[in-house]
């Protein structure tokens, strides 16, 4: 059996007495795209921050390509890319220098060739010498994506990846996610765009109030809750039931 790229056991994150994420366990296999959905404030971003090593979990184990994120953080994080909803860039580095910096951080051999390919793929070729302040919101988002993909990560964590992109870029981004999954990358995609999740994801993880309330393929979730319909119908049904409890 193939070792999962991302293996999460009992992930819990507390902020004082507030339970942001509670006992979440799941795994993502190589080549698999898993959708992470939940209502606002469900704990999706906190979970992604824990998985990407930005904040430490209170309890639980996270393994990335077999490496424990707590024990070997640098080696584990070398295999992942976290693409946040808001592009976070250095004010005084040009677009190309951002990729140069990323290459130094991750030790990417022949980064210039890969950077050229990414700039071309994301239509940023003429923006390479621009500072972030000279780029539009969508361009910044594309640059952030380019930085994330430069080192060919085995695990890609995406938090609302399509925010700020135009329809053409959205189509390209969707194709890019699929291609990278076909190339063996594991993808965890958090989004409120349920049709996107339905289109791209093999399995879906639904969380509500920090707890995992459903996980599986859409058919499996339908079977779990005994209802038919689209992911949107299932989502409304699951989260409404959770809310009533």
């Amino acid at each position: 059996m193939t070792e999962p790229t991302l293996d999460v056991h009992g992930l819990t994150k507390l902020y004082g007495d507030l339970v942001a994420v509670s006992e979440v366990s799941f795994s993502v296999a190589p080549g698999e795209v898993v959708g992470l959905v939940g209502p606002n404030g469900a704990g999706k971003t906190t979970m992604l921050r824990c998985l990407s090593g930005i904040i430490p979990p209170t309890r639980g184990e996270i393994r990335i390509c077999g490496r424990d994120l707590r024990q070997s953080p640098a080696q584990a994080k070398a295999e992942l890319a976290f693409l946040p909803d808001e592009p976070r860039l250095f004010d005084y580095l040009t677009a190309r220098e951002h990729l140069n910096l990323t290459a130094r951080l991750y030790g990417v051999p022949g980064w210039e060739r890969r950077a050229d390919a990414l700039f071309e793929e994301l239509e940023l070729l003429d923006k390479q010498q621009k500072l972030p302040s000279e780029l539009s919101r969508g361009m910044k988002q594309k640059l952030s994506i380019a930085c994330g993909l430069l080192h060919d990560p085995k695990l890609i964590l995406l938090d609302e990846p399509l925010t700020g992109l135009d329809p053409l870029a959205i189509r390209k981004m969707k194709r890019s996610i699929s291609q990278r999954a076909e190339g063996g990358a594991a993808v965890l995609l958090s989004s409120h765009l349920l049709p996107l999740v339905e289109e791209l994801c093999h399995r879906v993880l639904v969380i509500s109030a920090g707890r995992m309330v459903a996980f599986g393929t859409i058919d499996e979730i339908r079977a779990q809750i005994g209802a038919a319909g689209t992911l949107e119908d299932l989502f409304v049904r699951i989260t409404s039931a959770e809310g009533r409890e």
Binding site: P73, K77, R88, F90, E97, G107
Partner: protein, 578 residues
């Protein structure tokens, strides 16, 4: 690979690109003029002194004064370190930008690497601060600006590293839920007990006797003796070591002091870097808080958290009526919700010194807390009238970022300007009237020779008329400025730094003051004539102040009325893409 390779690249390229951007901006005449003014200002207040020669160069401190400066610097360092331990808060957590968090926290970097990066940047920032401080005080405080700069560097860096270590320790102790607060208090108590114990021990030792004379020399000798006494000599060593480098009088003294300062710096670095505690959450929270504050400032808003009580809707807005009153209501509501933040530094920073002066003048003639309170209120009212319009930027200066939305409203430019200004003017006037009423009420029971209650009422009435007129005129000047030259007066300029931003602020301040003086001159002349006519010729004395103020207010009112016409036109023709 890793942060060690990436960090120098990041620092160097960022600095180079920043410089290039600054140079490129000089192609714009506005930035060129502002940079020239800023550079001229820096030259006159800073560099000219540095490069001055001969007698014009202020002499370095000698002998007795040096001891006092040494004691003051040691005390300053102690206060900063103690504050870092006792005053809890996120502010002291290692600060990362959002980009640093994204690239480094989620990147292939260990927590220790990230911490070293931040600590080294802290040391670098200390070096920059030291250089600037040495430029200011280099010639007057120390024998050599270089000694001063290096000493300041050791001092700043040691304190900053110590505070970072304190923040990390505090975070480690407070990361476990409700026990955090108790643990935090316990930490503060332990730190205080430790320091208190040391101080008590030091004080229990025989200290040199206090001098009986009031002359400077015996006291200076006493301070020197205390600093050199056992065990204070050892206890104060961490604070004294960098100060000795700063104030070294010769190369030999400098070299002798250097190892001690280096040891203190190294010890603080090692302590901060040895912390293997989780700092990510505090840093992330601090970074998000900073981003929120910066975003609010750039948008011209005060970055405040509004309490539940502050969210109550008061005053209520009627569903129908003049639309400009709706804008004025918005301004008043904003002011009410942000007043706690904006007014405290304003009142404390400027009001208290003025009030103290006013109080001492009153006290020379009579005594009584009521008179003191009246003097304080009068001082604060004057501050609100003069400084209030600059500090409370809740009018068009705040809303210009939303000019496109305002332009889409079914209102004329003049109505929008009136709404924005009326709200701000009403807030400032209400504050002044409240202060004058309080001043009158508190001084009413007292007899003041030569200044009866009726005369006090006349003065207060005149001030209550003139103050709001002055603040309204200042509001008009500020808002007309931002409508005529939005690039010069924007909130972004107010919140940015650098030579060119300093130049812009100097120019806009000088221009605003000149315009205000020019605008108030006719009113002052009319008011003055009325006062002389009624006060001297008709013999009304101080009782001529209210009618004189009324005449002046009428002139200011006419000017504001005319200005509002022009400002309405400017608003309608404003290029909102600028």
């Amino acid at each position: 690979m890793g942060l060690a390779a990436a960090a120098p690249f990041l620092v160097w390229r960022s600095a180079r690109n920043w410089a290039a951007v600054q140079v490129r901006r000089l192609r714009n005449p506005r930035y060129l003029i502002a940079t020239a003014v800023g550079a001229f200002y820096l030259w006159t207040v800073l560099f000219r002194r540095l490069f001055a020669s001969g007698l014009s160069r202020p002499p370095a401190l000698q002998g007795s004064w040096l001891v006092l400066v040494e004691a003051a610097l040691i005390a300053m360092g102690m206060v900063m370190v103690l504050g870092g331990w006792v005053i809890p808060g996120r502010g002291a957590a290692p600060r990362f930008s959002q980009a640093e968090i994204h690239f480094f926290f989620a990147g292939p970097c260990s927590r220790r690497q990230v911490l070293h990066y931040k600590l080294l940047r802290t040391v670098g920032a200390a070096a920059l601060s030291s250089a600037i401080t040495a430029l200011f005080f280099g010639r007057s405080l120390a024998a050599s600006p270089a000694y001063l700069a290096i000493g300041f560097f050791f001092g700043f860096a040691s304190v900053s590293l110590h505070l970072a270590g304190a923040a990390l320790t505090r975070e480690a102790l407070s990361e476990h839920g409700r026990f955090g607060l108790l643990q935090r208090l316990a930490t503060a108590a332990v730190a205080l007990a430790f320091v208190g114990g040391l101080v008590a021990w030091a004080l229990s030792r025989p200290l040199p006797p206090l001098p009986r004379e009031l002359a400077a020399e015996p006291w200076v000798a006493y301070v020197r003796e205390v600093l050199d006494s056992w065990p204070l000599r050892i206890l104060l060593f961490p604070f004294r070591a960098p100060v000795r480098v700063m104030l070294a009088r010769s190369g030999f003294e400098f070299l002798r002091a250097l190892p001690g300062a280096l040891a203190v710096l190294a010890a603080n670095y090692a302590w901060a870097a040895s912390s293997d505690r989780a700092f990510e959450e505090a840093s992330l929270a601090a970074s998000e808080d900073r981003a929120r504050r910066m975003g609010a400032l750039r948008a011209g808003r005060l970055p405040v958290r509004v309490s539940e009580r502050g969210r109550r809707t008061w005053p209520k807005l009627a569903p129908a009526g003049r639309p400009e009153l709706a804008l004025a209501w918005k301004v008043v509501t904003t002011a009410r919700r942000t007043a706690n933040v904006a007014l405290v530094p304003l009142l404390l920073g400027l009001g208290v010194p003025i009030a103290v002066v006013a109080y001492s003048i009153v006290r020379a003639q009579a005594t009584g807390w009521g008179l003191g309170l009246a003097a304080i209120c009068a001082g604060l009212a004057a501050v609100v009238a003069v400084i209030g319009p600059s500090v409370l930027r809740m009018d068009l200066r705040q809303d210009l970022a939303n000019a496109d939305l305002l332009r889409a409203l079914p209102m004329s430019g003049r109505q929008i300007v009136e709404g924005e200004l009326f709200g701000a003017a009403a807030v400032l006037a209400a504050a002044q009237w409240a202060l004058w009423l309080l001043a009158l009420a508190s001084c009413a029971p007292y007899e003041v020779p030569g200044f009866p209650l009726s005369a006090r009422i006349a003065v207060a009435a005149a001030a209550a008329l003139l103050g709001p007129a002055v603040s309204s005129a200042a509001l008009v000047v500020h808002n007309a400025g931002i409508l005529a030259l939005p690039g010069w007066f924007s909130s972004e300029v107010a919140s940015t730094r650098g030579v060119e931003a300093m130049g812009q602020r100097l120019l806009t301040f000088a221009g605003g003051m000149l315009a205000l003086a020019f605008g108030l001159a006719p009113a002052a002349a009319v008011g003055g004539v009325v006062f002389v006519l009624l006060g001297s010729w008709a013999g009304l004395g101080l009782y001529a102040l209210p009618p004189a103020a009324l005449a002046a207010v009428a002139v200011v009112g006419a000017e504001i009325w005319a200005a509002l016409h022009g400002m309405g036109w400017l608003f309608e023709h404003l290029d909102i893409t600028e």
